[in-house]
Amino acid sequence: MLPNNEVRVPRPRVVQSAVPRDITAEFTDAASKLHGGQLVKDEMFTLFEAVGALEIMDSKMDSGYIAPGENLAQALEDDYDVRQPLTPEEVVGLMDQLLCHEVAWHKGHPLSQTLFTSIYLDRLLWPVPRTMEGARFDRVPSDSPLVGLVLRAYCLALVKSCDLVHARVATEYYYEEEDFVSQLYNRNLLSAFDISQFHRLLDQAVAWVGDQTDIDETLKQAIQSRLLFRHEFLSALHQDLEVLETRSTENFASCIAQLEPLLESVSLGKPVPEAFSLKIQRKLASTVPPRPMVNISHDDALAHMKRLCQDAIDMQQMLDYCGPSNFKTAVWTLLSRKPQPSIYIRCLLQALIVSNMTILGAVPVKDFLYDDLAELVLPASILLEANTDDVEMPSDPRFQIAQKMDGFLKRFAQPFVDTVRCACMNRCRIRRTICHTIVDWDNLQMEAEELDLELRTLSAEPPLQFQGGEPTWSFPLSSWAYNQKLVHFRLILQMGFELSIYSPEELPGMYWYLSHICSTHLGHIDRIRTFTVAARKRDLMSAGTRTGGSLQKASAFHKSFHALERLTTHIVAVDAFAIALHALYVVLARHNVLPSASSSQAYSSDRLRYEIRMKPFIPITLPELVPYDEYKREAALEGDSDVIILERASKAITEARKAWEATLANGAFIDDPSAPNKPAPVAIEEDWKRDVKDTMRACIGTSLAIEAVRKALAASSSENKSLNLEVVVPEVGSKTRWHDWWVVPQVSEKKSQA
């Protein structure tokens, strides 16, 4: 089905000065020559414009439409009196309803369907107030301080919190309507006013409530906790990027502390539904059809708020740069939390990850890139040490190396940082973006190869010779780029599982392909390691003549070997698990017990479906696309008996369990010996551990499934019957889907029909 939510923001039109003339007669004449339904459009009229069009005078599309007999004033205005006194219960009810709307807005719904349905907010914000005093519900203030002071202070502070969220999100990269709707409908969220003014009002309100003797104590506390939450939330949001300096989690922690009593007192509130109205939409924007109010539950709203605050607190654990691997792991792990951190957190993180070509406000992008190169391919290498400032003779190879590396930096820094920052997008967009950027990385790898050729002459790199073969060189920069690309290949596949892209009958093939990519990757890491070992040997041999910096060099090599080892362990774990699932699914498919989404009457063939699946990889030069026939043979394990395949599955899953154990033991982060006193990012590490443990649970599930199939197979061969198995492929989010990336079939004995 077509979406009908094209952004309906009026486009700026070029206004040309022209002399107006009446064309009614000409128009009528031209129109009379058309058939009903005939479309008159220019070349530029697209489907998007057709979808974005509104039909005037259709009540479902035209928000300004007034039905015959409808009173204009009644159609547009509500007769709700914003000055009427409210009970404390109603004030609590209103505050909580506003919070629900605020969270719905955070979650991506437009203001027109959420906060801007509030008559109180509408009155505060229109006409646009020029002063804080002018921001009130009515020109004549309410006689009730509960309304004029308490509710007003709460509403104003809420609007200001929205202003701070809006400012951060709108500055960063996000997808309009997918992640967030930035439309303000010509209202201003009090952006001109300093938060101290809001704090003062909140303080006054808190004090006034405290002084009241005729309000029940529990209600007083309920109102106060809501005001205090606003106070703290405002401070927390105001901190914004300054968190890099303040490193304070205090405000967000206080928010969480206030959310506790807030949750407990929700039941005290009395809803005031008449204080919210859809009629306001008619005044907001004429280009949007009327749309329903979005209602989310108090529990959902408070849970979302709490997560937002907790994510903001935990985010602080990654603000110290501790090397490229650790940084990348922390970013990915935090942003992979479920549910995904809110758009505010994701945008804040984007800005913290990199702004002004600086990582976390402290590390130049160059250092980050060079650290990554050093860790993977170039420990203690002249390529990274050469510097045009130190060597000024243009004829010196070191000068030329430095120049080439500067060129590399200019070309690669941005795409490299983007691979990290990409994690801030919504999950669907991450996968879609990587599907496109692998093509860029394919090109980058080729460019890097050119540079490698030039650099190896300048650095006089001696080649290696394997078993009398051709001399080969390390190609460090392109090796690094290739590694990057292989990581992306794996991510596309794994996120495909996460986003439920693959149908059940594709699972054998997709896990085969995952293991194929892993083994390619492992081969590549072996190649890198071989050259690093050789470089280290050369280094030690020449150390006899030079003594300076040998300790530092040893440490750089050690770090690199360690990183390669960790990477290897991890990919072995993924590979082995993929091999096991591949084998298991092959047996299930062979015996026709694996469910299939496609039917025998389908239009497509397996070959065509393989082509769709490989679409992102078709333009990639390396690794080469596996031709369909080869894929079919390999993925179906043609020629292997069931017994052999199940044996393969058992062996692989045992290896996978060991490798995941080892991965867990290696930990999320590499210890930084240069900073032993830095606090570990415990909260993020916990997420990472949980993820690995869930994977291990999925391994155990796979072992059980393999055993169940083995038993059923033995039974069927002795009785010469078909496999008596029922296979369920658990959906993402279901209890038996232990991990989003690992689709473990639930295999059970089919209940007898008798």
Binding site: M1, P292, H436
Partner: protein, 182 residues
């Protein structure tokens, strides 16, 4: 209730717009929170009326409709697109939608389509099953694609070999974001 055999499947006829389009809109709008404007219908029907098929009951009432288009996708493959599919509630579960979609696909194949794509709401399992039975594959998930905040799957069917390798021009609107200014 009518037996499926009493249904007639017909191709849309632009000369009968006045009678057919209102019925079509009524049928389709039922499932939508916000209706499509008349321009959306005309956009498809005037250009690709022959790719629109209707199911009519014995009283000549419309009970099912499929609306689609077919054109080169960014100077690349000839891409069919199934835009709308609706079957009146009390007629569901009889294979009417499948029949309509098959008619549209067959018509597109006749007109040399390379591929067919569409989107369907993640929660619409019936539609997803229908298309997947016909051989469509999910190629991507589209986050919060619909007004109600629901996500969608893009479903794709290749009809010829080599379609995946056909290069397309211009920027894919669902492609990568432009570089972020730093």
């Amino acid at each position: 209730m009518n037996a499926p055999s009493e249904l007639r499947y017909v191709r849309y006829d632009n000369s009968r717009e006045n009678e057919l389009v209102p019925a079509m809109r009524q049928l389709i709008s039922k499932d939508l929170s916000e209706p499509y404007s008349i321009y959306v219908y005309r956009y498809f029907l005037y250009q690709w009326g022959d790719l629109c098929f209707l199911a009519m009951d014995d009283k000549n009432e419309m009970v099912g409709v499929v609306v689609s288009k077919l054109e080169p996708h960014r100077d690349g493959p000839m891409r069919g697109y199934i835009a709308m599919l609706a079957v009146r509630e009390e007629y569901r579960g009889r294979g009417i939608a499948t029949k309509l979609v098959r008619m549209a696909i067959d018509a597109m194949i006749e007109r040399d389509a390379d591929e067919i794509v569409l989107e369907t709401e993640i929660t619409n399992t019936a539609a997803m099953k229908l298309y997947e039975r016909l051989g469509f594959l999910r190629s991507k998930q589209l986050h919060r694609y619909y007004l109600n905040g629901n996500s969608a799957y893009r479903l794709v069917l290749y009809l010829k070999e080599g379609v995946g390798a056909i290069r397309t021009a211009f920027v894919d609107p669902y492609g990568p974001p432009p570089p972020v200014p730093v």
